[in-house]
């Protein structure tokens, strides 16, 4: 239902033309500059991120990759001293346009954090939380409809079999790996277009990392995924395209396989080979 609505919206007027033009691009930025107070964190970011694939953001600490990620669902703005210039379009829609409602931006563009942050309520309620936030106040779903949503989301993140018998357990009692999967699952019922992931595996052990990567692969296609990682091996095995950033600028953006084998720029090669960062 919501997707139909989104399509109907894109069919209107100028925005419709824009989206037709950039149909293959989920995220399009034009001369994006960002300052924290006097410190400039992003310089003229011009990126076209393709729809339905996994794009990884790599680069040394402080290069601006997380800042860039956080600009796309506008959570940077919560810090009062952030100043942003330039444009970000998601599926052809300017996210800074005057009529934009932040709640809608966050609904369409989900975010996963470094540390899993499930809410201290049951597993089931965690999955339904976002859905209930955006659902109509008057209409309460039937239990069976809710069950369907919960099962669907948990299956998609490969968590269903592990938790199906105790959906009423506190989510905070799960292992870190399961918590992180749940945090991804609870984004899905509101049908976001883009998933932003800020080092989603850095709090997990190697086994957990593998499991979460596997589920991220499973989500590609249906969702456009942008993932920040410090782990070169992860970027290499778990992304289609790869963006290398350095000192707030984009150095290289290309096919992951090509970038890792034959990087165009010397800085990229140095970083990938572990000479700094």
């Amino acid at each position: 239902m919501e997707q139909a609505q989104a399509i109907a919206e894109t069919g209107n007027g100028a925005a419709g033309a824009a989206s037709a033009q950039t149909a293959a691009h989920a995220i399009h930025t034009r001369d994006l500059n960002l300052w924290y107070g006097d410190f400039q964190a992003l310089y003229d970011i011009n990126l076209d991120i393709k729809q339905g694939i996994i794009t990884s953001l790599i680069g040394p600490s402080g290069c601006g990759k997380t800042t860039f990620l956080r600009s796309i669902n506008r959570i940077n703005e919560r810090l009062g001293y952030v100043r942003i210039q330039g444009a970000v379009e998601v599926y052809g829609h300017d996210i800074f346009a005057p009529g934009v409602e932040i709640a809608q931006v966050r609904k369409q563009i989900g975010m996963v954090f470094q540390r899993p942050n499930p809410l201290p309520i049951s597993i089931r309620d965690n999955v339904l939380f976002g859905f209930n936030l955006h659902g109509e106040v008057r209409r309460r779903l039937h239990r069976s409809e809710q069950d369907e949503i919960v099962e669907g989301a948990l299956r998609q993140v490969l968590l269903w079999d592990a938790v199906k018998d105790h959906l009423d357990r506190k989510a905070t009692e799960l292992s870190l790996e399961e918590q992180q999967k749940l945090c991804i699952a609870r984004l899905l019922p509101v049908k976001p277009r883009v998933l932003l992931m800020d080092e989603p595996c850095s709090a997990l052990d190697p086994k957990g990392t593998e499991a979460v990567e596997e589920l991220i692969w499973g989500l590609a296609g249906e969702y456009t995924i942008l993932i920040v990682t410090h782990n070169m091996a992860q970027a290499r095995r778990a992304s289609d395209e790869c963006i290398f950033m350095l000192m707030g600028k984009v150095v290289e953006h290309g096919d992951t396989a090509d970038t890792f084998v034959t990087p165009v720029h010397k800085e990229t090669a140095d970083y990938i080979e572990g000479r700094y960062g």
């Binding site: 966050r106 954090f113 942050n117 809410l119 201290p120 945090c183 609870r186 984004l187």
Partner: protein, 289 residues
Amino acid sequence: MFAATHLNVQNMRRQSLVQILFMLMTAILILPVLIILATLIYKGGPAISFEFLFSDPRDGMTAGGIFPALVGTVWLVAVALLVSVPLGVAAAIYLSEFAPQNWFTRIINLAIINLAGVPSIVHALFGVGAFVLFFGFGTSILAAALTLAIMTLPVVIVATRESLQAVPLAFREACWNMGATRWQTIHRVVLPNAVSGILTGVILEVSRTTGETAPIMFTGAAFFLPFLPESVFDQTMALSLHLFVVSTQVPGVPDEMPYGVALVLIGMVLAMNSVSIAFRMYLRGKKKW
């Protein structure tokens, strides 16, 4: 190789000395409480009976029971709570969740903490000026309870604010990033996790309100009333004032009577506190993070 050196021995001795000293200080703190309780039970215990609790005072308050005072105190505490809890909790939510964190908000917070330190007799005079005279409630339960509410408001606000701020930022972030509004975040996640702390504030308030005498003396509590209050516009007796009256203002009161009143007063506070603490522990047990 691992034997104690001279220095070790010295340090250990110093530690035991400090430990004993602090233990003694704690004992000194606990002792008065025990003595008070023991005295009250020993001297006031014989006065407690069904008749004492549930009958009116007789013979110029030298005999009979305390029923009107008991009922009056319940009225006062209930009305005061009804006013101060919603008001205090709402104010605290605004201050900690909505208000911009700037110098003005900080000044307001500081003012609230200072308000908690205002002597109760000053609150009493404010109550007379504001509720009894200006709003025209007269000396009534309403005026007295409002005065009590104003006096205990800071306790509720501070306790609520602190328990709201104890809810981890990660939960709020999780909500915001799913597109929750501030209010959705507050009533779905922050408040349920702050309830036990807010309850602590309310417990403190109940204890204070039950025992306060000065603020109700001029605003709504009477020395002696032969009937029970029927609405909030009536005057009423109250346990705390009754204690003051029977122990200092009326000649010929039997010895055990003031002790009995005091015992009932303390018993009431302890009973309410125990119930609230039990409830709070139950809520705490349910939350885990």
